[in-house]
Symmetry: C2
Subunit: 143 residues, 2 copies
DNA sequence: GTACTTGCAAATAATTTGCAAATAT
DNA sequence: ATATTTGCAAATTATTTGCAAGTAC
């Protein structure tokens, strides 16, 4: 298991979850993924490591990881059930519309915007969600 | 048909779509909705106006409206298949986590942020997607 | 009149659940 | 040892499609 997957595994055991062969395989897939993966894709790739794994387990594990904040759902109009690894802290995703790879970035400073919206609308803002779409360096030059 | 629904209807016919009883009913539901609605909810409400409407038609009509940009999908972790009316121009949605109502706001100025991310990552940013969550004035005081 | 639109029922796809067997700690 | 986790198959839910009949223009 490579370094990044080990970190993710620690998050699981720190919360009292057992580290099974299946979960390790799923974590390895996610850690090594460049982009966002849906449950079926995770399942396919995890089978390389752990042939007996079931799709149900993938669903259950992704739920746990999403709840822990280890992974985050990536939303876009074509489908909203893909996940990408998430770092600690509030980060946002930048998704390549060419190859689907996902990069995290520091969320700039939105506080001025949030305050403006709050006073404009009377809402108490609790959370925000920003996602950017574009072409990564490779896809930008390539096609 | 009230004013707002009439405007939406014009968008449909301007694109060569016929204005059927069913489509009018769906538009009326959307125009008068305070929040986001999923296909099943639209269907239930549209039946008041047009009892013979089928769920299939709701799906098909929502697809058309989303393609035209008349409505926009509202994404959040609990479900990503709800829609809210969208104004022309680039606006963002503010969703109340209490009652589910949706308000649009002018998207502040994100250009500095976008440029920073672009130069940081090498991506060519094509689109962005911002959604805020909070409590609307009523839900804020109420509970 | 004609092409677009509809509702139905059936097909497909996606996700969840119950449960006995397996396993990490 | 034991509570958690698993895989399977079945159940459920959501969405899409084919097609003959209906309807807006």
């Amino acid at each position: 298991m490579e370094a990044s997957a080990k970190k993710l595994a620690e998050q699981l055991s720190a919360h009292g979850y057992k580290l099974t062969r299946q979960r390790r395989a799923i974590l390895a897939v996610i850690a090594s993924s460049e982009g966002h993966l849906n449950p079926a894709e995770v399942y396919e790739r995890a089978k390389a490591d752990c042939p007996q794994i079931g799709l149900t387990t993938v669903y259950r594990t992704l739920d746990i990881l999403a709840k822990l904040g280890t992974i985050k759902r990536v939303h876009f109009d074509g489908g909203c059930h893909s996940y990408a690894p998430a770092s600690r802290g509030h980060r946002h995703h930048l998704v390549c519309t060419g190859c689907g790879c996902v990069v995290e970035f520091e969320g700039g400073d939105l506080s001025a915007l949030l305050e403006a919206v709050a006073s404009q609308t009377g809402f108490k803002i609790e959370d925000h969600w920003l996602q950017l779409f574009g072409k990564c360096p490779a896809c930008r030059d390539g096609s």
